[in-house]
Symmetry: C2
Subunit: 715 residues, 2 copies
């Protein structure tokens, strides 16, 4: 069932857009009410006009009534326009013409410049599989390198690298084999598969957008359905599909009842065919199963974090939303293991003063919107469960904004109670606004001890930590000691079952038995494994509270898990970085990606102004210096006009361009301002290196080097 | 069939060790001859002694004969020892005690320090799957980062990132669906699977090593079998298994006939179950299918190279050799596309003077060993097929040796004619010597136009390049124009076959026909598709040479492919970097990995000499400076003796250690020399950064800063 999916990791793989509509579209109910009132008025006015005409009333009277009718009709179309406008501004996808057009412009540029390519295109592709082409691949490796620097290196995390092929037992323990499913329906005749919730969602959206005659109650019902779609059981979804008469979109054939489809790619390990394996749906399990070794590697000390970057797989029923919902993707996951009794973080103070958009549970259920909150306040007020969770929220904020994600279109949304797994202490998603709506890109969850316990149970290997006490602590412990000899005489072959049942008693039960034995000398005792009750006498068992000295505490650590959908972050980054500006002649719009140097696919291009051997030699000299400095770059020696070459490079998001127009000095141009300075040939590479590595800024370079007018360019 | 596997990429996945034995073990034939002669002499001498005794000969005579017999027995055991020693030095695995012990020491250290971990260990693991633990993962990401710098950035390659999940049609075109197989046999009763060639190999090795009574001819036969194992068909392998009476090793049950088992992990894409997919066995196909877009992205210019780093999968029948033969591994592949008529390389001169071990085909078949050759000489003499192939061999040499691979245990071995695919122009493997023998780690192949042609044919999309001529070229072309009307009248329903056969004639055949038609007026013409000969008369076809102007040349590029098995390179690097040295007291051997800073998992450790707040603050200050400089490091504040802490860090291959023994200056120790200098606290991080980034060397630091005696250490 879908709501079970929420108890699995990584929850951020679920789009949360349907959930958000509910709180944001309440206002449109007023408009629908107005439309409904208008409809009644229209009908009665139309009746009035008909009556007047049939009763041959005075022309002036009829004219007045018709005028009133026309006014009502005008009002109706105004209300309808407003409703449409509101539907569009809610970003429900199909409706929003501006967002659609913007997305199309971004996607066209991305595909044309090979940021990404539908995989296996010459074979007509496979839905939900995409290649990163050269610039996309560079952006991705820059994002991952920065992730390693910002998280792994900065926090001294233990990075591991585990295989994608995973044996069934591991994913049985994690719950994926049983619960990592979506509900599917099949076209009764062709067998084509659809996601049940998608069909219902499409039906509701279509009805709400196109059919303005539906009653106020009906509209409210559909909206409520959209908001609670993720919580519906197979039976409930099936009932709604039947009730609304939803059929297969392509053939109009009837549909099967919804049933769960496991989203893991299944395979077989080894030649015998008897060992089932899956392509991992997340990277985290590889860390959990290694906990014991990693804890030892860390000197048997908590807290510590392990991290992994790698491919994960999800056999979507019918992938949609381009790069946002794909069948294979790169995850970067952190598992921070911490003592459940101490979730403080030593570096928490470094992020406590950050202030950004948060969307706590309370604000969501009361219909408010996200608001700027100081992180320290959210933690101290208990809105965020603990310091470590807060620390990672802050670090994720810094990570995303340094990549170039717009602060104004980033929010941290807390999971609602019904979204969270029962064992989770707290859970926040970093959501980024894109043309598809708010997209879950990072999930930051306090998952308590759930995962380690699940693998301890299944494998029989204890995944625990110890806290050694500086001096031994005295604790009172209940000791149950069955007297085996007497029990053997009394119960013969059943002795073992009785002994085990006695030893398994909880504290209260044992103390009750002790009291009864002391007062009555014997007690009736139910042994489940025998399916009957036996009589235990006082001399058959000793139950005592004893004081013991303990030297350590053994416990299962809690895990706090920030989990990053790298492809989703990159797609949102593409949208946030894209803009257009008019060409010099003003006759066309030019595309620009304003990537910061950190993520730009190429840091610099080198252009000889005209095709000429001397300039080309200078360009090659600069290229060699850039390579030596580790700066990725391209030389463009085509004879194309310099303005066109700048435009081409802006469209790839290259932040700097060096134009060779003499053999002693060159111009250096910054992409967004189009400002140019003049630098010596010998210094060109090192100036670019200093800016791209953050040792200086363009502003500083601009104030230091002589400015270059645009006479040598055609911008 | 196994030899078909050679026509598939990446061939380096095959171990070539069996092939090498043949040329290297010829010498042992002399010893076996000596043993066989000794055996005959022994038998006749023993007979002589018996005869002397039975004929009651003089004691002196008998004593002399017994002495001669004993001398022959001594000679026998000497020869046997020599044979064993030679078997061991051939590195056939099982035999070599020293190599085994060395490997065990390396592997123990690697597993204990979590360089790698058998995957899913708490569930008793899965054969052929390994995790990289923290230090192994760092080494891997350092190797990959250097690969990107050394190849992708240096050559301006187009890096792409394609999914692992691949639809069947792509791998059908590449040949993997039909031919990526190993031959397997099954235990007739239990169904346990074995690799057929492994069983035969084990049998031959065991026989050669343990059974010294086998005849000279038999020994030669077994050795020849070992050398040609990869070329045996299923039938031939099956016949040998029957002939030798080989049974299942675990149960001694009889075995099935060998049959091919496809090594790809199979899965199903999407929910319907009707779309077969595989986990890619290599990354290269993702590049080939994108050729058209990449060529356009490169401005429709050749040559250019595309590159990809990613996971590849191979469902081994029974994985052996630890990290060297695994079921999932990281490949880094380059596809350099080049005009088949011009395989020069602009940067070839930069590598032409490199000199290293090469093992050309000629030296292998004539039983010689690898020898040092200047690369430029190998290319100019035609030993290496072309400049571009030579350029990449040189670049691979630089890459591997800069990582820390020992030059003396690295050779480039040319494929023998029977190893190469029919279409390949030339193929060289970078082989690294390890305790398992010579291991294929990089394959560098000129694969001609094979891959692009295969995908052009299957997809119907032309994967070609154009060369535009600066001015049109006049070319003479043969034009064959069948006169369909007359052919139709003559051949009715067979007309189409005749027309096609006429049009398909090669130039010479057509010109011969033209001459015959002109002299005799008709000609007998065989139409294969009809399976008969028809009579063609002069008026049925026109054959003319015509002059045409051509503006461009359209051709399928050749591809030169360096393909890197990253896991294999890393494992060999581990072995080449490992050594032991006595502890200070001389009572134990300490393990050291001599990784260069480039690949070291951690660049530096920071040790407060004693547990004390002031020193810890200094250590934290240095740690922050190292983080800011992007230098991975660890602080070790345990109270363990400084000598033990050095030993712990040497075992991880950490090149530098900073010991905090004052608040103003600290000592900096180099791992291999154990030399120490004293540097100011403020400079410590930047000195480490300069050495690790290659801006200075330890020798220079040693000559610049004051030396530190070991009084503050217990080394």
């Amino acid at each position: 069932m879908l709501h079970l999916l929420h108890s699995l990791r990584p929850s951020f793989l679920l789009s949360s857009s349907s959930r958000v509509i509910f709180t944001r579209s309440m206002a449109s109910i007023d408009l629908r009410k107005a439309l409904s009132d208008n409809q009644s008025a229209l009908e009665s006015q139309a009746n009035a006009v008909r009556q007047l005409k049939s009763s041959a009333a005075a022309k002036s009277e009829i004219d007045a009534a018709v005028e009133a009718l026309n006014a009502l009709k005008l009002e109706k179309s105004t209300i309808e326009r407003e409703i449409h406008a509101q539907i569009n501004s809610e970003g429900n996808g199909e409706g929003n013409v501006n967002k659609e057009a913007f997305r199309q412009a971004v996607v066209n540029t991305l595909e044309r410049r090979l940021f990404y390519i539908p995989s296996f295109k010459i074979y007509r592709g496979v839905a939900g599989l995409y290649d990163y082409g050269p610039p996309g691949c560079s952006v991705k490796s820059n994002v991952l390198a920065f992730w390693r620097q910002h998280f792994v290196l900065e926090e001294n995390m233990l990075e591991v690298d585990c295989p994608c092929v995973t044996p069934e037992v591991v994913l049985k323990a994690s719950g994926h084999v049983d619960k990592f499913t979506d509900l599917m329906v099949k076209d009764d005749k062709t067998g084509t598969c659809y996601r049940a919730d998608h069909l219902l969602k499409d039906f509701c959206n279509e009805k709400l957008q196109k059919d303005l005659t539906i009653s106020l109650d009906k509209a409210a019902e559909l909206k409520h359905l959209l908001a609670t779609l993720d919580d519906l059981s197979a039976e409930e979804l099936g009932a709604k599909i039947k009730e609304f008469g939803i059929v297969a979109p392509d053939t109009k054939n009837p549909l099967s009842d919804p049933y769960p489809f496991n989203l893991m790619f299944q395979t077989s390990i080894g030649p015998s065919g008897s060992s089932t394996g899956y392509m991992r749906p997340e990277t985290a399990q590889g860390i959990f199963v290694n906990f014991r070794d990693l804890y030892y590697y860390n000197g048997s000390k908590l807290p510590f974090a392990a991290a992994q970057i790698g491919q994960a797989f999800r056999n979507e029923i019918s992938p949609r939303q381009g790069l946002l919902r794909v069948r294979e993707f790169t995850l970067a996951e952190i598992e921070h293991f911490v003592d459940p009794e101490d979730k403080s973080h030593p570096k928490y103070s470094e992020v406590a003063d950050l202030e950004f958009f948060m969307f706590p549970r309370q604000e969501q259920v009361s219909g408010q919107s996200a608001k700027r909150i100081r992180l320290g306040e959210a933690v101290s007020k208990g809105i965020v469960n603990n310091e470590t969770l807060g620390y990672f929220i802050g670090r994720v904020y810094l990570f995303l904004t340094r990549l170039g994600i717009d602060k104004e279109r980033l929010r941290f949304r807390q999971h609602l109670a019904n979204e969270m797994a029962h064992y989770a202490a707290d859970c926040w998603d970093a959501e980024i606004e894109s043309s598809y709506g708010w997209i879950e890109c990072v999930g930051i969850a306090d998952r308590s001890a759930y995962d380690l316990r699940a693998h301890s149970e299944k494998s029989g290997v204890q995944l625990v930590a110890q806290e050694k006490f500086s001096e031994p602590k005295e604790v009172e412990k209940l000791v149950i000691a069955p007297v085996k000899k007497l029990l053997g005489q009394a119960f013969k072959g059943s002795q073992k079952n009785v002994v085990e049942a006695l030893e398994a008693m909880k504290e209260k039960e044992a103390l009750d038995m002790k009291a009864t034995l002391e007062s009555k000398g014997e007690v009736e005792f139910e042994v489940c494994t025998l399916g009957k009750t036996v009589t235990i006498t006082k001399n058959m068992v000793s139950i005592q509270k004893e004081k013991k000295k303990e030297h350590q505490r053994v416990f299962t650590p809690s895990v706090i898990e920030p989990s990053f959908g790298i492809g989703r972050i990159i797609y949102c980054l593409f949208e946030h970085s894209f803009y257009t500006r008019p060409s010099k002649g003003g006759d066309e719009q030019l595309n620009v990606f304003r990537f910061p140097p950190l993520v730009a696919p190429i840091k610099c291009t080198v252009f000889p102004l005209v095709q000429n051997q001397k300039f080309e030699e200078v360009a090659k000299f600069i290229s060699k210096s850039l390579t030596a400095a580790g700066i990725s770059h391209r030389i463009d020696i085509t004879g194309t006009s310099i303005g066109k070459r700048y435009a081409r490079t802006d469209e790839l998001g290259v932040p700097f361009a060096i134009t060779v127009d003499s053999t002693t000095s060159v111009t250096l141009r910054e992409r967004d301002s189009k400002d140019q300075v003049r630098v010596d040939v010998e210094n060109a590479a090192s100036v670019v290196r200093e800016i791209t590595e953050g040792q200086t800024t363009w502003t500083h370079v601009w104030s230091t080097f002589p400015h270059q007018s645009s006479t040598t360019t055609d911008e």
